[in-house]
Structure formats: C-alpha cells, structure tokens
C-alpha cells in the first residue's frame, strides 16, 4: 500500500499537509496585476533566482515554484510571505508590497504554463523542408499538379500566409479553408437523378441544395441510390502516404510561391 501522505519532496509534503488540514480552495485564482508582476520579476531576480532558477522551474538548491503547492495556494502573498519567513536561507527583508509583487509574478508564470497549449509556432519552426524536394513531390509522387498549378490557382500562394497555415491547408483542406462543397447525387427508384451540394446525410435521410438554391430532402431506402462526391478525396488519401519529410518539403515549396 502506498503511503497516504508521501514525504518524498517538499512540495508534495506541503500539499499533503494542506490536504490533511482540509483547507478549501478559494473560489477564484488570483487575478494578475501585470505591472505588479513586472516589479515582482525584479524582486525574483534579486532574491530568488539563484536557487529557483531563471525560469522559476527550480535548480539544484531550490524547488520548482510553478509546480509548488504553496505558490498555487497563495493569494497575494498570504502563503509565500510566511513560508519565506519560516524557511532558512530565504529573504527576510522583503516589504509586504514586494511579497505581493512576487506573488503576481509567480502566478503569472503559473498561468502562462498552465495555458501553454495555446501557443502559435513561428514560421522559422515550421519551415524546415527543402523547396526543390517539395516541388518534385508536388509534380511527382504527390500528383498535386494533377489539380493544382503554381502559375494558376496557386500563383503567389505563399504571400501573406503563415507557414503553419500553409501546412494545415494542404493537409486538411476542408477544416482549414471552410472548403469546397461535398456534392451528392440521389437517384430515385424511378431512375431520376438529382445532384446538389450536400447539406446533411445520415443512414436514414439525405438533403441537398439544388442548382436553384432549394433544399431537398430524401428518405434513404434500398432502392434509392446515394453517391457522395468528395472533391478533396485525393487530399485525404495522401494522409496515408506523406512522410513527415514530404510534408515539410511541400510547406517549403508552397511558401516559396510568391
């Protein structure tokens, strides 16, 4: 059986103590005052950085403060202030205002870290492919040139687009661009065929928008033929064929079309 209150690291120990004490968390996280956080960064640089590291993620002589249960529970210095007073080798001469500033800085780091899934990669990160290899794939194995042309629909395609947008557009054209329409042909039992833009389809009904802009709905049955035409099918089939190198090379080639 695992120990109920692990005493392995300081942070976990403190979390366990807090848990045992049954403290309920406040209703909201600390609202960060950016100006105070900037001042707090200076306090950190002067008094904390040597042990807790330049990125607040800890070092050989001090724990990570982003993952610290004490800091996570802190509101405007009410936890970190007393903790610094109590712990050896911590600054004792910070003013109450400096402790509040430090709190804002640490919570700013926590907020940035806990939401860091939402970043956008810079062009330089994405543009690792080879333009010539991308061009060769475009005209060769990828058969992209069957439908697309760098002097036609893709003229100046790379202008004004981020690299990640280009990458997402050719891999997943419907998702990224709102896309071309799926079309459907419904052939009734009597043999009458109607083609239009697919509005909705399931196992029982299919509806389409016809050339006149009218939406028509059909019940599906064994004697009603439904054919969906996906103009982007070739893109989907390529997903099983691209190597990551192919993908990067195509991005480089498309980005170069300016």
């Amino acid at each position: 059986m695992r120990a109920l209150l692990p005493t392995i690291t300081g942070a976990v120990f403190l979390a366990a103590v807090a848990y045992a004490a049954g403290q309920a968390g406040p209703t909201e996280r600390q609202k960060i005052d950016n100006a105070a956080a900037t001042r707090g960064r200076a306090v950190y640089a002067q008094s904390c950085i040597n042990c807790h590291g330049s990125n607040v993620k800890g070092g050989e002589s001090g724990p990570d403060l982003i993952r610290s249960a004490v800091v996570l529970r802190d509101r405007l210095g009410n936890e970190i202030g007393p903790a610094m007073k109590k712990l050896a080798n911590h600054p004792k001469d910070l003013t109450p205002e400096q402790v509040v500033d430090l709190s804002h800085f640490l919570h700013q780091r926590i907020e940035t870290t806990s939401s860091n899934r939402n970043a956008t990669p810079p062009n330089a990160s994405i543009l690792t492919g080879n333009v010539q290899a991308g061009k060769a794939y475009f005209n060769g194995a990828g058969k992209c040139s069957t439908c697309h042309s760098p002097t036609g629909d893709l003229a100046a395609y790379g202008t004004g687009k981020t690299a990640i947008t280009i990458q997402q557009n050719f891999l997943f054209p419907r998702v990224a661009r709102g896309g071309k329409q799926l079309e459907v042909t419904v052939t009734s039992a009597a043999g009458k065929a109607i083609r239009g833009a697919l509005v909705r389809i399931d196992d029982f009904k299919v509806s389409l928008r016809d050339d006149a802009g009218q939406t028509q709905m059909f019940e599906r049955a064994a004697n009603v033929k439904v054919e969906v035409h996906d103009p982007l099918a070739a893109h989907h089939e390529l997903l099983d064929q691209y190597t990551d190198a192919d993908m990067h090379n195509i991005v480089a080639y498309l980005e170069s079309l300016k």
Partner: protein, 523 residues
C-alpha cells in the same frame, strides 16, 4: 462500526452485481464487468420496430453560475442509475432522482461550486440508502437517496493544483472508490477509497511508482515522476472472485513535450489492477509507453470469461484511445492479444509484453509530425460494449489525423508544451472478435469521425447506438444491419441503459439536457 443498513446494502449490491441477473441498472456500467450488456429480452430484434417513446424528462439546473467562471452546461454525459424504480442522473454540481416508470422528478440536489472544470459528470454510485457523486470543485458528496439531502462531503483533490472531479465513484464492499481529473499543470494522478458511512479516507494509490521501485526507473528523476500526471477519470470494473479492481490511467505530464520525462513513464496510460481493500498494486499493463499525444488509457477495462486456444480464460479487454485493442489475462495482466482496431501510424510494432513501441519520429516536433489518431483518439470516454451472446466487442471508433507541434523550447517543459492542430477523420461502429482482434463487421458512419455515443448490447439481440444526426439506432449485433431507429431532438450525449419494472422493459438515453425513455406499447 457499520450500520445494519450499510451492511445490508453491501450484501444486496454484491448479490446484484456478482450474479449479473439484475433487472436494475445499479452502477455506471450496469454491473461490475463493464460490458454495458443487459440480459433483458422483452425488447428484442423481433419486436424492436414497435418501440415507442414513453416519456421524456428535462434537466433544469437553474441559471446559476457553475463556478470557476463558467456556466452550467446541462448536457447529460453520465450514465443514469436505476435502482428499485428510481433513476439517479447527474450533470456537474447537480443530481436528480426521477421516477423510473413515469419520469416524475422526485428531488434535485444542487451543489454550490467553488470552481473546477465543468466538462461533464459521468454519474453517481449508490450503496444502501446513500448516493455518492464527485463535483468539479474536488468534493465527494454523500446524499440520502430518499430525499437528496446531503449526509456529508469530503475533499478528494486540491482545486488549487488544477485537479477536478468528474468520474462516477465505484462501490466495492465498504469502499467508495474515486478517481481524479486535471492535466493543466504537472500533478500526479491517484485513486482513493473512502468509508461509505463517514467519508474518511481509507487508502490512496498514486499512479506513479514509489521512489526506489524498479518501475521508478521509467522516469528520469523523482521530481519528474511525482509531477507525471496519470489521471484516473475513467470508469472502473471489479472481479469479486479475484478481488481485483481495474481501471485505466490518463496521459503523462507534461502532456505533449516529453523531453523532460524520458522513459516509459509508469504507471501512466496503463491498465491497472489493485486490491480494493488495501490499494495495493496487483499488476499493470501499459497501453502507451512514454506517450506524447494525450492518449489517456482510461477506457473501460471490460471483464468477461472466454476461450483462448481452446482454454477457458478470465479475460480483460480494452479498446484504447491510441487505436489499439488489448486482451489480457485479468488474473495477472499478461497480454494475450494486441492489435490495431483502426489503422494508426505511431508505432514500431509491439514489444515482448504486447505493449506498442512508440516511434520517436511521431512524437510532436517543432515543425510538426503528422500523426494518426489525433488527440481526440480512436475512442474517447463513451463506453464500448461486449456481448457474451455474440462474443463481439463493440466500439464506436474514429480514424483521424492531425499534426502534433512542440511549442516549449526549454530544457524542462511543463504543462502541455505543445498541441495538435487540424484534422481529418472518419467514424465507424466496429464489432471486434476478441479471439482474433479481427473486425467482424463495420458500419461506416456517414460524415466525419469524433466522439459519438456510448453503446449498449442486450440479450434481446440488439445493439443500441447514437449517430451525430440525433438518431437512436438499434443494430443487429451479429451483422451490423440496422433494425430500428428514431430521431431525438439532439445527438445522444451519454450511453443507453435498460431496466425492467413490473414486467416492462425500459430503454433510456440522454441527449443534451433530456432523458428519452422508450417502452413497448401496452397490448
């Protein structure tokens, strides 16, 4: 000292769950096996065409804020319980008791939230006269099932560390076993057991090894291990004969940027067997060693007895979010079968233990890696179903691609440190032969993939599922042909259940904020 009522409750529950002859639906999974299979036959493949809507009931949580800055989304994702003619159904912070015959609301419990992520509540558990439910703000609440009044509540996780509660508790003997959720920051997962009478903590098992254990070597440091994630937000199962409690664990932390946690990262994304009396680990099987794609292995570890190479075996099967289907010997966790149930592109085969070997090239990259499945996975939380009558494992599967990016350039990434983007997907209902891993039949859903409803199979030769166009559909579980359907006012958002009262079989599904109940018309 337990009260007599609790002891009787435990005995009744044990009788109901072990025998699996119940006409009730007393737990999230219907029984301890996790099969989402009902032995009821009054609704069956010969008469399902006559099934009619009997009544609906709509969840009205009121207009109060949900806490944590959000508003309450009245989407029923949980599987209701049906016990002695009363349904118990949940959304985050809310529990209702509803007459299972008529749909009349009997009581409504509302919890004043302090926050936490209100993504969904998977359901409740009942022992004797007490109902147990988790809240987003990290509380386990015990309610009197007679009137919905609170008996006690206790904190099960730390909201400040970005934990939250969502999973349905499981009752095993005198243990109320709960799991926890949350992966914004780097925190360890655990399951813990509480006393049903007092709420007192009985044991806690963290989803990482103890420092010094051989498995601790699957982490580069104690610090990485103690902040390594592995949340326990999926349903659990239990084998009373073996006295083993089974569940899956979630993704390691940091989620996408795995540079700072080289190694297999046990016990994240693993199928776990614990002794429910002590919380001691019996065995583990890792579905995704060193995952960097958020592929929680929390899908139900379904228990059934079967035959492998002519020998009777006690089995456990999981269709995992990473696209792999595993069959294990549930007495010891030894692998019997590992196979993809959708085509994926992230492995280099399986190792001697039957565990997929991740291809390092398909880890997230700064310039992107094209990966299948996507982050949503080949399956997500909606329950699959296993029918002992057909020997088939039914799963709503998705084949999807997305590009995984690394964002965090630091030596020690934290949080997520990356994400996936975009995607193309297709969805299909599959029937997998557990003996071979082969797909016996497949129904391709029109339209794209993604999360679809949970599944229910019955001895009436029926398999119920929801599509993304608000249809509730009954399939023939033997061949996948469609036998019946009806259109709801929203797509099914939970998993169908069925129960029998006074000789009448009821079928209930949740779609959005409404429960829809179907019965055969009286003759």
């Amino acid at each position: 000292m337990k009260t007599l009522a609790t002891i009787i409750g435990i005995l009744l529950l044990a009788a109901v769950l072990v025998g699996q002859t119940s006409v009730d639906w007393p737990t999230y999974n219907g029984d301890y096996s996790g099969r989402h299979f009902s032995p009821l036959t009054k609704i069956n493949s010969t008469n399902v065409n006559n099934l009619k809507l009997a009544w609906t009931w709509r969840a009205n949580p009121g207009s109060g804020p949900a806490g944590g800055g959000g508003t309450t989304s009245a989407t029923i994702k949980g599987t209701p319980l049906e016990i002695n003619g009363i349904l118990y159904t949940t959304i985050p912070d809310h529990v209702w008791a509803v007459d299972a015959r008529t749909g009349k609301e009997l009581w409504h419990f509302s919890w004043e939230s302090k926050g936490g992520w209100h993504i969904g509540n998977r359901g409740a558990a009942v022992l004797g006269s007490t109902l147990y439910v988790e809240t987003p703000d990290c509380n386990l609440i015990a309610l009197n099932i007679a009137d919905g009044k609170e008996r006690w509540h206790t904190e099960i996780c730390d909201l400040e560390q970005f934990y939250y509660g969502s999973v349905a508790p499981t009752i095993v003997k005198n243990h109320v076993i709960v799991g926890v959720s949350g992966d914004d920051l780097d925190i360890p997962g655990y399951v813990e057991a509480h006393d049903p009478e007092t709420g007192k903590l009985q044991w806690r098992w963290y989803t990482h090894p103890n420092p010094g254990d051989p498995e601790a070597k699957t982490w580069p440091s104690v610090e990485a291990m103690m902040h390594g994630g592995g949340m326990t937000w999926g349903p659990s199962t239990y084998d009373p004969e073996l006295n083993l409690y089974y569940f899956g664990t979630g993704n390691p932390q940091p989620v996408i940027a795995g540079r700072g946690r080289q190694g297999d990262n046990l016990y994240t994304e693993s199928i776990i067997a614990l002794n429910p009396d002590t919380g001691k680990l019996a065995w583990y099987f890792q579905a995704s060693p060193h995952d960097t794609h958020d592929w929680d292995a929390i899908e139900i570890p379904i228990l059934f007895d079967g035959e492998v190479n002519g020998q009777p075996r006690k089995l456990l099967a999981q269709a995992s979010r990473n696209g792999w289907f595993f069959v294990l010997d549930r007495t010891n966790g030894k692998n019997i079968l590992s196979t993809e149930f959708v085509k994926t592109n992230w492995t280099k085969g399986v190792d001697a233990k039957g565990q997929p070997i991740p291809d390092p090239k398909k880890e997230p990259q700064f310039d992107g890696a094209l990966v299948s499945p996507n982050q949503g996975g080949a399956i997500n939380w909606p329950p699959p179903s296993f029918s002992p009558n057909t020997g088939l494992f039914y799963v709503n599967a998705t084949r999807a691609f997305s590009v995984y990016y690394l964002y965090d350039t630091e030596d020690k990434p934290e949080g997520w440190g990356g994400n996936d983007r975009g995607g193309w997907s297709e969805g299909m209902l599959e029937a997998i032969d557990y003996k071979t891993g082969k797909v016996k039949w497949l129904h391709k859903w029109p339209g794209s993939g993604g999360i679809r409803s949970g599944l229910l199979s019955t001895a009436g030769n029926l398999l119920f599922a929801g599509d993304n166009s608000s249809n509730l559909i009954a399939f023939d579980p033997k061949d996948g042909s469609i036998l019946w359907h009806t259109e709801l006012r929203a797509s099914m958002s939970n998993t169908p259940i069925t129960y029998e009262l006074d000789g009448v079989q009821y079928l209930i599904v949740g779609a959005g904020d409404t429960l829809y109940t179907f019965t055969m018309p009286a003759k």
